[in-house]
Every structure is written in C-alpha cells, then in structure tokens.
Amino acid sequence: MFKILINLALKNAFLRASRAILLVIMIGASMGVMVSIEGLYEGMTSNMIDKTIRSDSGDISMFAKEYRLKNDIKYSIKNATDIAKTLDTLESVEAIVTRVKVSGLAQSATKAYPSDLIGVNFEDEQKFGKFSDFIKEGNLSLGKYGCVVGVELAKNLKLKLNSKVVFTSQDANNQIQSKLFRVKAIIHTTNINLDTRAILTNKNRVSLYLGIPETTATQIAIRSKKDNLQEILKKKYKNFDVLSFKDLNPQLTQMKTMTDIFNSITFSIVMFVVFIGVLGVMYVSILDRIREFGIMLALGYEYKYIRLQVMFEALFLGLGGFILGSIIGYLLLLYLNIYGLNLSDFADGMQSFGMSSILYAQIKLSYFTTSLYAILLASILSVFIPLRKIKKLNPVDVIKADA
C-alpha cells in the first residue's frame, strides 16, 4: 500500500510538468542563492574574527590591571615570560605569546602619524597565528633595525620596503626616546588597530628601547579551545585582567550576532514565501483533481491514505527543489570559497575598515541540512489547507457536480 501511495504521489507531483518545474526552480534558485549569501556573510565575519584572534587577542588575553585603561607600560606584567612558560605546560593551551606595546609617534621622511611599537617574538607569532600569512610585501629577515609595519600606516606615512621610520615615545623612566627602523615587511591583518598603527619588531629590542626587563610584557595572548580556561585563569591570576576575545572585540562579536540574525530573518522570509508558493501549487493541484479524490473516497479509499499521498506529493516537489538548490548553492559556494567575491575596486575602503577586498565564503553542511528541514516543513504545512478541502468532501456531491 505504502509503495503504491509513493508511486501515485510521485506521478501526480509532476503530472503538470510546467507548474512543477516552475516550483522546483523557485525553491532551487531561492535556496541556492540563500545558502551562498549565508556562506559569504558568515565567511566574511568569521574571517575577520579569525584574523583578529590570530594577529592580536588570541582566544584569551591577559593584561596587568589598569593597562587597558591607562595604556601605559608602567602597568605591565613583570614576570610575563615565567607565566607564559607555566601556562604553556597546560594541555588546553595550544599556543601562547607575550608582547610589549607602547604608543608614540612614527615619522617617515615627510610625514608623521600616531602609532604603536609592538615587540613580539616572530617565531612564537608564527606558531600562534601563522604570522607569515599576513605579510603583504617583504619578509621577516629583520636584521638589527628591521621592522614590520601595518599596511594602512605604511600608506599614511608613504613607507615602502627599506624606507626609514623613526618611532618616538616615552620610555619606562618617563624619558622621551626615539628609535630608527627600516621597513622590512608590510602586513595586512584586517585588524584595524594593527593595520593603521602597528610597527612590529623583536621584543628584546623594544624592551631595551623602553628600558624594561625582557621578561616584562604588556599582554599575554593564549590560543585555546577550552571553554572554561578564562575562568580558571581569572581565579589563578587575580591581579590581572583576563579577557576573552569577546570581551576585547565586542564589535566583532556583535557583527557576528547581527550576521546570524540577518541570515535567520532572510531564511525565514524566503521559507515563508516558498511556503506560499508550494501552498498555491498544491491547492490548485488538489482542486484540479477534486473529482478524482471524490471517486477515491466513494470507492472506499480512506482519507488517511489520501492525506499521506498529498503529503508525499508536496514532499517530492520540495525535495526536487532542495536537490536543485543544493546543486546551485554548492556550486556557488564552491566558487566563492575558491575564488571569492572580488571587491578590489573598493579595496581602499575595505582595507581601511579592516576588511579583506576579496571575500571568501564558508561551506557548512548545516546550511543544507537546515534548508532541507525548512523546505520539508514548508511542504508539509502547505498541504493542510488543501487537505481540509478534501476532508469536507461529500463524494456523491463532487462526482455529481463535475460530471
């Protein structure tokens, strides 16, 4: 019986070919474009978050109390290297770096701009966030006076590779100090603060320049997937601010939330309109065959079988749309994942606001599974109104009326 029902439903679903094809194209095209937009938007925000974690905050960052408020090297972590070594032994810690940062003025031959001198260990940074991936020009062979500068800072100061840049700031003894660097690499991290202000060089040189011990740091950044590590560290290091990526970058977290909300709203609206489409087709399909259903009921065919058959018809149409949508969506996502959406014409604008000019999409199985559930649900729901029409049928009246 079940097999017959499925066969009947399959035959009837595509009986009116033009109508069924239009519906399948509608569902397929909508789903395909919807999942690719979803993947692109999610790819964009995830990419920004990933690069900020890798280039700066990590999953957790530790600062001396008051440092973030005063932005002064007086408020630094004195025994940072020891703490980092201890933390590195924890199984949940994937990578750890210590950094020292001071704000000051960077001057090229003709221009000056407020900037930050950041002392890092480039080997550790490579393990921490694949630092070399951020290099746009040059390399990390810094030599004695080499430095790496952010792409926007380089633009503002008209710096090129091997240009000289002088950084001036206050040291740990409140004395004004200047140091000359030569640009050996230019980085593009999509982290606005780094791209517009950072001059990075070896941490020991910055420590020397500032007159602080090499063991001192202003930030300890940690990569870890363990959810409760922040709480553990907060309890262990009560004298420090232990902040998660979300605490440090609320705007990116909110951007991600906004993207998720926007995708959900888009998804709901599209699925509602898909529901209306399937409802229309199913309603007319049932009206067209109302006499057929009347005869079936008159012959003793139970209503529950008709209901099941109609549901299967709607499901087959929905599934047809889903298969087409999955093909379109996957191909579009694959293209956007490999080649990206090239917005190089707007590169200046996107770069200065911390975005990459080529946006790559993410591909997640959940885009397709969620769409499948939603399409199946819309298909099932769409038959309830038409089914009420059949339920109210008096077989004799229907056969007489259309005879």
């Binding site: 909508s30 000056a112 701009y113 001036t168 007319v284």
Partner: protein, 403 residues
Amino acid sequence: MFKLAIKNIFYYKGRSITTFLLTFFSATLFIIFVSFMHGSHKTMLHNALKVYTGTIQIYQKDYRDEGGYDYLIFDNQKVFNSLEKIKGIKSYTSRVETFGIASSKNNSSAIMLTGVDFKKEAKISELKNALKTGKYNTKSNCLYMGEDLAKKLNISLDHELSFVGSAIDYSFAADIFKLCGTFKTGMYEFDNSSAFLNREYFDGLFYSQNASSYIVINVNDLDKNNYIASQISKSIGKDLKVYTWQDLMKSMVELVKVDSIFGYISMALFFMVIFFVILIYGFINISSRVKEFGVLKSIGLRDIDIDKILIYEILILTLSAIVIAICLGGSIAYYFEINPIVIEGISDMYKDYGIISDTVPTDFDIFTIFWNVSLIFSLNILSLIYPIYYVRTFTPVEAMRHV
C-alpha cells in the same frame, strides 16, 4: 478588455489577493529597507563631513601624496581672494597641521597639533559644539584638546604640558602649553590624538604666517559641491589641487558602496523568490483559464486582445499594491527621517568604523521610492511573459478542449 480584466480580478480572488499582497509586501519592504540603508550611509558621511572634514579642501599639489612642510600652501590670502569671488561658498578657513610629542608630568603621547582660526573654524566644523569642558576660543598658549587625549596624558583644565615638534623651516619647535578646553566629537582616533591652538600663537611658534597645510571649505548646497569645486579649481593656481569630500573620504565612500552592494544582493534574493511566486500564481491562474481563452478566441478575440486582458489584470493588481506601498513605506521612511531610531551605544561599539552617532535615520527621497517601486513593477510585468507565451501556444480548438 479593461472591464473584463476587473471582473477577472474579483472572480479569481486567490490569485489576486496573493499577487496584491506579495507586491505590496515586497514594495513596502524595499522602500523601507533602502530608506534605512541610504539614511544610515548619509548620516555616516554627513557626520564625518560636518565634524571636521568640510566638503572641499584645497592642497598644494603633492601634499597628500608626499606630505611634509615642503608642500604647504604658502600664500593663503591669494587663495582666499579667489574664494571670495565664487558663489555658493558658505565658509572657509585654513589649517596648519603638525605632529609631535606632547608630555605632561608623567605621560607622553603623539599628537596632531593644528593651528586654526577659532572664529572661522566655528562656522565650518563641529569643534565648537563638541566642547566638553573649559572654553573653545582659546588665546595665547592655550590648547583645545580631545577629551580622550587629555585622559591619556592624565591632565585636566589649567594643567601644563610640553610639546616638541618642528617648525615649518624644519627647525626645532617646543613650548609649554596650558590645557584650556576639551572636546569630544565621537571620532575616537581624532579625540584621542588631536589638539588645537589659536592661529596667531601657532604661526609665531612654527613660522607658518600666511601658510597652511590646506584650506577647508563648506558650501551652501551639497548638491552643487562638485560644480563649486570645479569653479575653485579654475580660479586658483595650477600648483594647487582641489579635493571634494568624495576624494577626501574615499575609504568611507567605498565602504558605503560595498555595504549597499550587500544590501541589494539580499534584496535581490527576496525579489527573486517573490517574482517566482507571482509567476507561479499567475501561471496557475492562466493555465486554469485556457478553456475560457479558447472560447474568447473562438468568438473573434485575437491573441493580442487576450494579452491585453492579462496585462490589464497584472497592471491593476500591481499598481494598486504599489500605490498603497508608496503611501505606507513612504510614510514610514518620512517619519523615521524626522524621528530617527536611536540605538544606545552603537556609536561606541562601531567607533572604529566611522559611526559617531547613535541615531539611525531613514532617507526619504521621492526619486529613490520611484525607482524602488519601478523595479517591483517591472518584475511583475516580467512574470507575465511566460504565462502569455503559454496561452498563445493553444489554438482556439485546443484551448476549448483543454482540461
């Protein structure tokens, strides 16, 4: 034909209601969405212009590319004389910018010190309105400083600070200043690194009499900005270059364009789904009326007459939905232009992205509303092409026999 179309609209209620509602829904949504998108973009750009940038700036050629004191404007008065002759200019003033290190008792910071004519500046920027403490129009060695910068230097009103930089003849320039006023524009980087000094004192210290980094201009009517810029360009020397706000804020203009592209991509998805649903409902309706068209053809109506009936039907439904959508969507856009939505904290959250106001207004623009609804109208007309083609494939006899 028209009467027949009206009769059909009321007879086929299901299709009419669905088409009407979908058209109304999509047109209203589009008007509101675009008005909010344009409104937020316009606010972002206008706020940035209003705060400090002005609508036109004049530079010595190469200043923006090379920078430095060698590329200053060395005869302000000559340019001012030319500007006096051009109609449509609301106000203008000159500024001289220099970078250096400011130090309080315990803190130092890189700052941008700008020499301004405070009276003229009040007419061109929001600096005066941004006053937080102390006074705006300061004299002698009094500084008007960003609130965040004052916090960073840990100073308050009447406290002294030193500044070290270079005069425009590249000699060493240093002085002791007093903090006389603080401001907060909401532009984080600006408030965190800018200080202003009255022009007279600045010129004496930096030898910048009658010279400027650039001249900033505001026009009476922003729509005539480019025309006025071209007039200025013709009247000043060839060694000077005129930049409009689109050039000056290229990054922000580009970001706005990218945001608009994403907005239209999302809307395109909605339109595609709605277009398909209207197409499907139209097609279902027309395919169920093939017999009726067969009768009409057999009594002498031509294909073109049938087309006319169908076009009248969609025109009546679309236009009535669009008129109501214009009234509703337009009213909402107009209301929120006058009473913008306020999202507390949004400017603080997105300060890095140039957002300096918590208000999100709409932009009520008749022309924009017109093209919004024109697009919806065109899509509805397009949705009729396939159904018309389908009806035309039947001969009168085939149509009358159609089941």
